[in-house]
Structure formats: structure tokens, C-alpha cells
Symmetry: C2
Subunit: 326 residues, 2 copies
Amino acid sequence: MNDVIKYDIAIIGSGPAGLSAAIYAARGGLKTVVFEKGIMGGQITVTQEVENYPGFHKTLSGFELMDEMKKHADKFNTDYREEEVKGIGLQGLCKVIETNKGMYHAKTLIFATGAHPRKLNVPGEDKFYGKGVSYCATCDGVFYRDKAVAVVGGGDSAVEEAIFLTRFVKKVYLIHRRDKLRAVQIIQERAFNNPKIEIIWDSEVQEVNGDDFVTSITIYNKKLEKRSKVPVDGIFIYAGILPNNEIIESRIELDEAGFVKVNEDMHTNVPGIYAAGDIVSKKLRQVITAAADGAIAAWSAEKWITYHEDDDDTTEFATCEIPQKK
Amino acid sequence: MNDVIKYDIAIIGSGPAGLSAAIYAARGGLKTVVFEKGIMGGQITVTQEVENYPGFHKTLSGFELMDEMKKHADKFNTDYREEEVKGIGLQGLCKVIETNKGMYHAKTLIFATGAHPRKLNVPGEDKFYGKGVSYCATCDGVFYRDKAVAVVGGGDSAVEEAIFLTRFVKKVYLIHRRDKLRAVQIIQERAFNNPKIEIIWDSEVQEVNGDDFVTSITIYNKKLEKRSKVPVDGIFIYAGILPNNEIIESRIELDEAGFVKVNEDMHTNVPGIYAAGDIVSKKLRQVITAAADGAIAAWSAEKWITYHEDDDDTTEFATCEIPQKK
């Protein structure tokens, strides 16, 4: 085991949470690694326009923003490994990380694996992503001023965001597959009373249509057994958000939807293991909140190491053979 | 009262928390105002080098960073008022804001008034701020690589940060006015066992000395009644952090130190009143965490308005005469 590379902190995922954690950890003097199995930057990199990361007032693409963060992490000598983490093990206080390329040891670990929206899986959904298809009204609503949009879903998020969108758009079609909404009563009433919102019941989206940009959606009314086209400039899909939790260590406590529970230090229930960003059980998932999570997690991890590192024999920690402290 | 200006959201303070809240609120279609009694940008503007706000990898001054955030808020038509808030009143759900120049109504309110470090109030402290005097090792520690620094204090923060600094510096003098530390036992032991840390007991800092930059501090040992000079390149002062809570509405719950308690939505115990940034009861106070707080508070405020705004008669809300909803 002598050739195992040992880190103070291992970060899984290179989105805003992971890279922010890396900036804080590496700048804080910790030996830091980021593992990324796919594309550097995470989910946000597929976003064409980011205009709400405070300080970047010139609209840039998600990829461009993450490229700036990556340069920032590189500045402080973060190790960046394009490897897929296959599993996590614990040996006392030490974390063992197995990837498709090797084995690593770390004193602390941050899961920054993110989340992704549940798709409708209909034709046109992927093609028009960022060109009329969105999963986040907070992010993209403002781009649809005085336009017509569809919102798909019937839960709190869908109905809240339909109402939110009426701050900008001229018309919202709220498309729900059942004949009643699941959202709480008061928010349903707000939607019913909002003159800009028209609810289309018992209907599913079958296709997203357009040229360069979305121009309409094809819906199917199950009760009437009727297909029709609704002219819209955009479609906001609220079919749920799914945590990327496949490699989350089994001892880590999750909420009902599979997101990681953390305390105010971003600490999970497992000592020395943190989570940050969209994978965390929380309400608002934005670049800025993910980046803050990452900073807090890295800062907390440094403090945790200070409290748990045995000054007499730090090598024990690093070789994953340190016994649990009393 | 007809000429009172009415806002959806009033933000008090224009630091990272306040401006981020403004970006999210104004971009989210809310009529937004920021009140600032002093210099735009808050506490961070006096910082010469910020290099840990993720994405800004080219080191910039606190003022420059906040100037970018101000431009960002301006882009979405935030009202910016250089007025001192004198008091806050509540009329049902509506907030009444009295400044040195007038009276305003708002549906929601965000306190982003910040905090400030307790100073030693010794000669040289202000003169060398940013030139060797710091109140934040997380922010500035990395600038003292292989140098000698003093840390002043004896609580958890002082001792933790003294240990943190040993990741960079060659020597830390921990200067404490008593003959024992207040920090928890385990962290005291870590400090005692750290070869880079020398504790100077029973001593107070009397002066910070230097030319362009700090070169030494003058300390006074109360037991020995002896004055001496300690050669250091920097001094980190941990005498406590104080909340700027003078105008916080009296019904708002504070922690023991006077910081505002909030839930995960940054909501205080008073409906529709939020807090964000350094004024919040929390551990890590950084630009990135303040900005995230602001985004969450603004997002939460928008949802709160949606839930509480009466669609039949929104004017009642705006004129501060709406009764509390059941």
C-alpha cells in the first residue's frame, strides 16, 4: 500500500461546489484532489447563459464560468484527476477512494456529485435544451419576458414557478397529467386566480417542436383522447430533480428523495465526510449556493483534520490505519 | 401616505449579501431597493486583495469585486438609496422603513448589515490594516508563507487559526492576556504540541510597528511588568466579531452574541423579514457565503410574497394595511 497517493481532502465532482471546495482547500494549505468522471464543470456547463452568479455581470456560458473556476482552483495547485470513482471505503478515520484507475487515501472527503432534472424523455426535449427547454425558472425565467411558456408538473415547485413566471411572461400554460394539482391549497388558489395562468388538465407533453428555438409543444389529453399543439416560446419542466448519489457511501444518511443530509458545516453523519452543492438536501440549487457549500465544506474539513490529526503520528492518519479517536 | 414609495423587497446593506440579494430579487421581477448608509460594498471594500471568491482567479481588491457586483445589481434595475435606515416598523405583513431622508414601505425586508471585528484599539492597528494586520486567517493566511506572525486571543477561533496558519508560516506567536487559554482542551493540546507555535502568556499588544508593512509588535507582560518587541510580518487579531445589529427590529430573535437567527430560508422569526451575510448567526463569514445567503433570502422572499399576496387586492399589501393572513 506504499504507493497509494494520500490527500488531505478528496473532492468528488468538479461543478461549482467541487471547484469552490478545491479553491478553499488548496488555498488553505490542504493537499487536494478533485475527481471528475465526465466533463469538468458539472451540470452548469451545458447552460448557454448564466447571468446570476454575483459579480459576473457580463452574461457568460456555464462552460465559461466553470473554466474561470477551474483556473482558480489550478492557481492553488489542486490535483485534478479525470477518473471515475467506483467506491468509497472507510478505515477508521481515513477514507479509501477506488477509481477506474487506482486507489487513493484521504483524511476527508467531499461529495459534490450534483443532481440532474428528471426528463420527460420526449422528442425535442434534448435538442431544444437551452433553446426554449428549461428546468429552472429562477435561472431562465427572465429570458421569456412577454412571451408564452408552458410549465409541466403539478407539485409545489411547478405551481410556484408557474406563478413566478407570470412576473415576466404574458401567458403560462400549466400542463398537468391529472385532473387536480398536488401543490398545497393556498398556492393552487394563487394559480387559479392568476389571469395569466391557464391550466391544461389530464394532458401529457408528447413532443417539443421548433426551428432554432421552441415554437410549440404537442400535448395529448388522455381523457378526451385528443392531440393538440400549444404555441409557446419556452417549456419549463418540473418532473423532479434527481440526486447523483450512486457512489454515496451507504452509511451516509439521505433524505426521502435521496439527497445527502448535512449540518451547518456541510458535514454528513459520517465523521470527515462532507457534501456540497446540488447533492445536498436543500431547497435552492444555484451556482452561488453550490459554491458557498463548497467553501464551507472545505473550511470545515480543515478544522476537522486539525481536531483529529494526531500530532505525534500524523502518518498513521495518512496511511489509513489510525484508530477512531475517543 | 400616498407618496410613500412601495417596494416588494427592501435590502439594508450593500455588501456581498445585500447586492447578491438585489441581483436575485430584481432579476426575479421584484421591485427592489438597497439602502446603504456608508460606502457601497460593505466591510470587504477595505480589503486590498481578494483571491478566494470562486471564479475571480485574478486577485482583485474588495472594492473592485464589489464594484462588479454593484454593476450586476444595476443591470436589473435595483433602486440604490444612499440613506441611513433609522428604524423599522411593522403594519400587519408590511414593513415600514424610516431613513434619514424619508419613509418607505416593503412587503419583505432583508437585513444585510454585516459585522465588524472587535479591534485592539492600539496604535498602528488601523494604519497597517491590510499591510500586516488582519482579522481573518482564512482570507489572508496564505499571504504569509514562510513568515512569522502573531495571533492575538485565547478562544477557539484564535487557537484554531493559529494552528491553521502553521500550514503556511514558519512561526506563530500566540499572544494571550491570561495564563491559560479558553479554547477547548483538544485544540489547546494541538497548539501546545505544534513546534511552530510559541505561546506568550499574560501579555497584551500595545502597538503595531512597521514601515510600509508590519515589522514587529510591542507587547507588555502584565505579570513581569515588562515591555518587549516581537518581530513579526503580520498580526491576526481574534478579539471577537461584532454584529452590526443596531437597527435590527426588536422582535427579531438574536443569538447570544447578537447575530440574527435564521432558518434554512434565511427567514428570521418575523414573517417576511430575512437576514443574510455576516449579520447571520453562523460560523464561516466569507464573500461567497454572504452572496449565497443573499440569493437564498431573495428567492425565499419572492416565494413568501407569492404565498401571502392577496390576488384579489394586492394594493392592500402595498399600502401596509393588509391584515395578517390566517
